[in-house]
């Protein structure tokens, strides 16, 4: 038998068969034994894959997939949490930017309000000046 990811088939078969014998189960149970055998094989394969994945292109992704398939909980997997964490970081940064923009906008609004007040005051002054000068000329008595 050929090796499967470094797991010696003879040893695997002997242990799997020993497991099957110790169960002492009937033909209907032999299916579960076979399932467990296949599960062990798959688990071993995936463990090997996860071990060698870092040296492969896109290895981190492969490692994530392999670990995920081995039934590692989503919360515990660094790969899965990492992707969500990046999005959270982006959203946080956007939130901070938004706050800065809001502050800047508020300062701009305050400046504009101040300018409006100054403009209004100067307009009133010019109008008063104009009115008094016109009235003084019209009411001039020599």
């Amino acid at each position: 038998m050929s090796n499967m990811n470094g797991i010696e088939s003879n040893r695997m078969n002997s242990s799997a068969m020993h497991h099957g014998r110790t169960q002492g189960k009937g033909s209907s149970e032999s299916g579960s034994g076979f399932g467990e055998l296949m599960g062990d094989i798959a688990n071993g394969a995936l463990a090997g894959l996860a071990a060698v994945a870092p040296v492969l292109p896109g290895g981190e992704l492969i490692k994530m997939a392999a670990n995920g398939l081995r039934g590692v909980s989503p919360g515990g997997s660094t790969g899965l949490g990492g992707a969500r964490g990046e999005k959270l970081d982006e959203m946080w940064a956007m939130q901070e930017d938004n706050q800065i923009f809001n502050l800047q906008y508020m300062h701009l609004q305050q400046s504009m309000q101040s300018e409006n007040r100054h403009f209004s005051t100067m307009s009133n002054l010019l109008k008063a000046r104009h009115d008094t000068a016109k009235a003084a000329i019209n009411n001039m008595r020599v």
Partner: protein, 145 residues
């Protein structure tokens, strides 16, 4: 009769000259406006309005020291002319002489002012209180719009 007619003619002439001066100021022809005021002052030498407006136009051009001299002379000759006091106070403020401006305002408060003059005085005080000297534009120009 002739004296009255002469007086009317002088008044009309002086008024026309001052209206002309005011229009010239509005179109930015400051020197011509000041010259028209001086001509009006020669036509009606006893009336302070021509000199008062001349001082005001000098302020509009930015010649604050000239305006101070013109208006100080008018207020000395006519201490109860309210418009002269207001413009003199304004010239003092623009020249940075706040105490002299306040004294002119105190003198003005002793007089009976028309509604328009009261409003003008209040607007001036509001500008002085709310704006720094470097914010106020140097030429306070008349607006006929």
């Amino acid at each position: 009769m002739n004296a009255a007619q002469d007086a009317v003619a002088v008044q009309v002439s002086a008024q026309e000259l001052l209206k002309k001066a005011y229009l010239l100021l509005s179109y930015g022809q400051y020197e011509e406006a000041i010259a028209a005021c001086e001509e009006a002052s020669k036509v009606a030498p006893g009336h302070p309005l021509a000199a008062v407006l001349k001082g005001s136009f000098e302020m509009a051009v930015g010649r604050i020291n000239d305006a101070l001299g013109t208006l100080r002379a008018v207020t000395n000759r006519h201490p109860e002319h309210p418009l002269a006091l207001i413009y003199f106070a304004e010239a003092c403020f623009l020249a940075g002489r706040s105490a002299a401006a306040q004294r002119a305002l105190a003198q003005l408060d002793k007089l009976t002012l028309s509604e328009a003059l009261c409003e003008f005085r209040d607007e001036l005080v509001q500008v002085w209180d709310s704006m720094a000297l470097d914010i106020i534009p140097p030429a306070l120009v008349a607006d006929i719009s």
